[in-house]
Amino acid sequence: MAEGVEILGIYDRATTAAVGVRAVLKEGLGEVITYSPVPDRALDQALHVTLSPVRLFVLIGGLLGCATGFIFPIYTVLDWPLITGGKPLISIPPFVVIAFELTILFASLGGMAGFLLLSRLPRVTGRPPDARFTDNMTGISVTCAPEQAAAVRACLARTGASEIRE
């Protein structure tokens, strides 16, 4: 919908905005993006939000970290075999500590990378269409075909938008 128009409805409350989202989606008027100062369950339900794939990044990071935590120390002791303290070269208990820490480190880094990638961040020049969306207002941005614009405006007004603009 590259040649579509974008209509912004501004709501006082997220619960009211959720009603607007439901109405726009039900009537098939266009694609919806919401802006809110806090995460809101009502909006999530209206948008039928599913589980975030961030969890896959965390899992992959954790598995990589765990594998690195064992393979790296084992590689080093085999690379230059030097017995210290009379302990076997491949001493699993101390390597568990390294593996544990690296599991958490890589899982966290993986999660952060996944979050930034999926959220399309960083985008330093990015600003929400209205500064009040980081303060106290909730917004619905509907991208629709030009001929649907009037219907979208009517829908947003009907569901309680305090302000509507293009």
Binding site: Y35, L47, R55, V77, V97, G111, N136
Partner: protein, 444 residues
């Protein structure tokens, strides 16, 4: 109270500070300067100025290391563990505690370097092969420390930053001075879209779930620096849980020490309330009881072991050269916190402030007693007569560490929201459709 009020009230704290703030910052910078000068003197002259003498070759610097790592722990307890338990009261104090965690770990991480004879070779700690292709020893607890502290610092910074991101966006859209550009860059262009919130909430939950075992592992690893040796007084299987409980105990005390003046300085009395302090005091009391139990178990095991060296170390701890430190430690960590059983005491911020400072002193002394009294009473009776005393250089560097920590903390609270705007809004109960906005309740 509405979303807009919360936004205004918390962003108001970023306005130019008053005289009290500058006085505090000047004091912190002066303390930091003293520490830096003492460190430069030590680096130039040599470790001899630190008062180390065989067999006490770990002392104040390692005490500081363990103390500051411990201070960090309560931040993670509040931000991660209480988040998982859905303890909503944490919201008001979580941000300050998370920031405290990061700055305490930064301070702690300096001490193993300060403790080095040639601190400019600190990078030898990083696991890479040296000129003879020899790798670091992964079986050494000191290398475990490198991994644990690095992971803890990285995860704590990311956790703090993730929570800050929407607040930085709120500051970007409100602040008009030169800092706006800084907030613009730091907020990474946060928009607050449904897509961003969805991934944000998922990651926040994962960070909490990952930081919880991490915090337990970090002080366990620190305790193993001691416990895997064979020295009487150190060689103990209870050290990991004992250190973790002690860390959270001291960290909670530091949170109270910082928040009592902070709420007044930033006029956050309507957000950080007495019941938040009371909850922190209850947690402090509980961890104090765990620590007291650990002290008793230590003495019991020493007696029950039948080892004369073990028994001698603990007898010496109570009645030997370091008796004064030990008794002060018991008073501050075991006796004083019992006052918190009284609701009157734990809801009085002045008494709570005094108790928290005494607990900080007690927990610093605990690490000092564990390290110095055990080392000075090893297996060789010829070593038992020596008395280690900290020198002025060690004292100055310790003061400098407090200066560094307070400088970082003060700079943070005046440039970043000290209370999470997003979480304060989130914890407000949503009104039912049609309710007047004026009926919105106060935040939890």
């Amino acid at each position: 109270m509405s979303f807009a009020t919360i936004n205004d009230d918390i962003l108001r704290t970023l306005r130019p500070p008053g005289r009290v703030y500058y006085a505090g910052l000047a004091l912190a910078l002066a303390a930091l300067s003293i520490g830096v000068l003492a460190f430069l003197y030590q680096a130039r002259t040599g470790m001899g100025v630190a008062g180390y003498e065989h067999p006490v070759l770990w002392a104040v610097y390692i005490t500081n290391f363990v103390f500051w790592v411990g201070i960090a722990h309560s931040g993670t307890l509040i931000s991660a563990i209480l988040f998982l338990f859905r303890a909503k009261w944490r919201t008001a104090v979580a941000r300050a505690a998370e920031a405290m965690t990061v700055f305490a770990v930064v301070t702690a991480a300096l001490f193993p370097i300060i403790h080095l004879g040639r601190p400019w070779f600190f990078y030898w700690l990083i696991p890479y092969p040296n000129a003879r292709e020899l790798w670091v020893n992964f079986r050494s607890p000191l290398i475990w420390d490198v991994f644990a502290i690095t992971t803890y610092l990285t995860v704590s910074v990311m956790f703090l930053y993730l929570g800050l991101m929407p607040d930085l966006a709120a500051a970007r859209d409100r602040i008009t001075d030169w800092r706006r550009q800084v907030y613009r860059v730091l907020s990474l262009g946060w928009l607050g879209t449904d897509r961003q919130w969805r991934h944000y909430m998922a990651l926040y939950g994962f960070f909490a779930a990952l930081a919880t075992p991490l915090v337990v592992s970090v002080h366990s690893v620190v305790s193993w620096d001691f416990a895997v040796s064979i020295l009487p007084g150190w060689h103990s299987t209870i050290f990991a849980p004992y250190f973790v409980a002690g860390a959270i105990f001291s960290g909670l005390a530091m949170v109270i020490t910082l928040l009592v003046p902070l709420r007044r300085m930033l006029r956050l009395e309507s957000y950080i309330r007495v019941h938040h302090f009371e909850n922190l005091a209850k947690l402090m009391l509980m961890t104090s009881l765990i620590v007291s139990y650990a002290y008793m178990v230590e003495f019991f095991i020493a007696w029950y072991s039948g080892s004369p060296f073990e028994q001698g170390t603990f007898y010496d701890r109570m009645f030997g050269q370091y008796w004064a430190y030990s008794w002060m430690m018991f008073t501050c960590n075991v006796c004083v916190p019992l006052l918190l059983f009284s609701k009157t005491v734990r809801t009085n911020l002045r008494s709570l402030f005094v108790i928290s400072i005494l607990v900080n002193i007690g927990m610093w002394l605990e690490r000092y007693v564990i390290i110095v009294s055990s080392l000075s009473h090893d297996f060789d009776p010829a070593n038992w007569s020596g008395v280690y005393e900290p020198t002025w250089v060690e004292a100055a560097i310790t003061v400098g560490a407090f200066g560094l920590f307070l400088t970082l903390f003060l700079l943070f609270v005046k440039n970043f929201p000290a209370v999470s705007i997003t979480e304060m809004k989130e914890t407000m109960e949503r009104p039912a459709e049609g309710d007047p906005a004026s009926a919105w309740p106060e935040p939890v």
